[in-house]
Amino acid sequence: MNSDEAARLRNWADAYVEGTLGPAERESLERELLTSAEARRFFLSYLELHAGLAWQFRGIESELPFLREVKPTPVSTSPWWGWSLPWAAAVLAVAAVVWLSMRGAPREPGADSEAVLAVVRETLRGRWADGREVRVSESVWRGGWSLQSGLILLAGVDGVELLVEGPAIAEWLGAQHIRLTSGTVVVRMPKGRSGFVVETAQMRVTDLGTEFGVSVSPSGDERVQVYNGLVRTEATASGAVQELKAGSGLRCSAAGELAPAAFVEDRFIRRMPRTMPATPGGPLYNRSVLESVAVMRATNEVSVDGQLTEWNRGTFFKSACEPPYAATYFVEGGMMYDATHLYVAAHVGDPEPMRNASRDGFQFAGGSVIVRLSTDRRLGWPLKGINRQFRPTNPSRELVADSTNERVKSLILWHDAKSGRASLDLQHSFELEPAAAAPAGWKGAFQMDADGLGYTLEYAIPWRLLHCESDPPRAGDVMGALWTVHWSDADGRICFGQLVDVTNQNPPASQTPHPPAFFLSGPYWGRAVFQ
C-alpha cells in the first residue's frame, strides 16, 4: 500500500469513526476492504487505535458498567424485561461493591488472560510515571510499569494482593512473580496459598504463605520485613538462603550483603487508608518549564527563622501542579550563598503541611522539598553523571567518575511532625549514597501559613557538608540543579504526588525518562546560576 492509498484509507477511517462517512465513500471503503487483506489490517489497526483511546480516557465513573444505569433494550415486550434489568444492575452493583471493598482475591488460578496479570482494585491518588491517573479496574499487563505517586492495590488473577507505594518501578514476570527495581510493595497471599516471588537486584524473596514487605531504595539498599507467616530469601550473588519469620526483617546492601534488620511496624504501608482527606487535592503532577534558578549572593547575615526577612522574593521561581491543583499545590523557591553557607528557602502550598511522620527510609514521602545540586564546577552543565541502573554496560571511566562524584548532593528537607523540628538528610552522587553520619552544623526552620494551607522553610547548610568548603561555588558558576517537592496524606506517610522542576528544557534526544526519574540522570537537571 503506497502513501496515497494509506492516506485515503485513513481519511475514510476517520470519517467512519466520526460518523461522517458518506454513501459513496462507504461504498469505496467496503470495496477496498472486501478485496484487500492489507487494507483490512490497516483499517483494523486504526479501529484498534480509536478504541484504545476511547477506552483509556473513559471517565472513572463509567469504569464499572454495572455501576451505571443499564438502558433497557427493546428486544422483548415482556413487562418483566423492564423490571429485570434494573434489578440485575442492582445485584451487580452490590456484588461489585462487596467484592471491591470486602472480599479477598479469588482463590482459583486464572486459566486465561496470560497477558493481563492483575487489575487495579483500589487507588489512592495513584499516578503512573507518564502522568496518567491510575484507574480502578485498569488492567496491569505482563511487563514493566512505573508508579509515580500514590498508593494502589493490585489484585492478581492468581489470588495475590499487592499494595504498591509510589514512586515504584516494577515488572510483572508471571502470575506469581514480579521484579521490583525500586520502591515498596507489600504482598499478601490468600489463605492456604504460597509461592509468590519478589525478585530484586540482590535478592529473590519467596513467600511461604504470608504477608511481607519488600523495598528497594534508589541507592540500592533492599529490605524485607515479614508481618505474617514465613518467607525465604536468597541472595543473588552468594546464594545464601535465610528463612524469615513474622516480626523479623532483613537488609541487603548494594554490595549484596545480607544482615538482620530491626522490625519496624510502620516501615511499610500495609492497608489502604479508608478515608480520604477532606482538603482539596487530586493527582499531583506538573510540566516543568523552568530551566534555571538564580542563586543570589547573601549580602546580610541570614537569620534562619522561616520568616525570610533577608530574602528578595523577587528572585524566587514559582512552579505549580497542573490545573485545577495549581492554586493549592505549588512551590516558590529561592537560593542564596556566601563564603560559608548555602541557603535554601521555599514557600510550599500544601493542604496537609508539616505532617511528615519521618518513616524510616521514606522521609521524602511524608511531605518534603528536595534540592539537588552539583558543587563541583568541573562537572559543568549539563551534567553527565547518571545512576548505575541507567548507565551502559561498559561505561567509560569519565562517566563513572561523574556519576559517583560526591560533590553532587541531594538535600532532603522536611519537617518532622513528631519532634516539631526541621530535618535534613544528605545523599551523595547519582548513587544517592547516604551520609556516613547524621549531618551537623546546619540550621533549619519551618513556619506554617496562617491559613494552614502551606508552609515556609528556610535552611542554612555549611559548604563543609557539601564537600566544597575549600572551593565553594562563586559568582559566575553554573551548576547542575534540580528541585522536587513531595506532598503527602494527612498522616504524613504516603506520597500523594510530586512536582519536578528546574530541568534541562532541551534534554538529550535519546530515551527520555519520566520526570520522576530525572533525579537519577544528570543530563535532565537544570541549572543553578550563581550571581
Partner: protein
C-alpha cells in the same frame, strides 16, 4: 475443582478482560454511544450467563467477545436502517482478519501504549480531553476552537499515533 467460577473470580476475569470486549465492539460499531450501550448490555449478559462459562473450554476473552458479537448482531437487526454501519459481509470479513492475526488486537494495544508515551504533552492533553465521554464539544468551547478544528487536530494526532503503531507492529517490539 469446580467448573463454575465463584462470583469474585468471575468479576476479576471480567475486569481484566473488559478492555478487550470494549475494543472488540469498536471493530464492529463505530459510534461511541452505541459501543457504550452494547458494552453495558454485554457485561450484563456475561453476568447473567456466568454459570455457563467453563475455563476448560476456552479463554474468558473469547467467550465474552462471542457474547458481545451476538449483541452486535441483534443491534444490527434493530439498526438496519442506520447508515453508519458497514455491511455484514465486510464486518464478518474484518472479524475473520482480526482473528487470523492471532494476538493482533493485543499487539495493537501494546503498540498504542508504547506510542502514547512518546506523544508530546500538549497533544496528549488534547487527546485526553477529546476522548473523555462526550467531551469534544465542551473541549472546543473551553479552548475557544471550533469543533471542526478540534477534529482536524485530533485526526492529525491519530495519524501520528497510527504511523507509530504500524512501525512498532512491523518491528515487533515495544521496548
Amino acid at each position: 475443582m469446580t467448573t463454575e467460577p465463584s462470583d469474585d473470580r468471575f468479576i476479576t476475569l471480567l475486569l481484566a478482560n473488559q478492555s478487550r470486549v470494549y475494543r472488540f465492539l469498536f471493530t464492529l460499531v463505530p459510534r461511541r454511544e452505541d459501543v457504550e450501550d452494547l458494552f453495558q448490555q454485554t457485561c450484563l449478559t456475561l453476568w447473567q450467563e456466568r454459570a455457563k462459562f467453563d475455563p476448560k473450554k476456552g479463554e474468558f476473552a473469547s467467550w465474552a467477545c462471542a457474547i458481545a458479537h451476538n449483541n452486535v448482531r441483534n443491534f444490527r437487526r434493530r439498526e438496519s436502517t442506520r447508515q453508519a454501519l458497514l455491511s455484514e459481509e465486510v464486518a464478518e470479513l474484518l472479524l475473520a482478519t482480526r482473528e487470523a492475526g492471532g494476538r493482533f488486537s493485543e499487539e495493537c494495544h501494546l503498540a498504542l501504549q508504547h506510542c502514547l508515551k512518546r506523544l508530546p504533552p500538549h497533544q496528549m492533553a488534547l487527546v485526553e480531553e477529546s476522548y473523555r465521554e462526550g467531551a469534544i464539544k465542551s473541549t472546543a468551547a473551553a479552548t475557544g476552537r471550533s469543533v471542526n478544528a478540534l477534529y482536524k487536530s485530533l485526526r492529525r494526532i491519530r495519524a501520528i499515533l497510527h504511523d507509530c503503531m504500524l512501525r512498532v507492529l512491523a518491528e515487533g517490539s515495544t521496548s
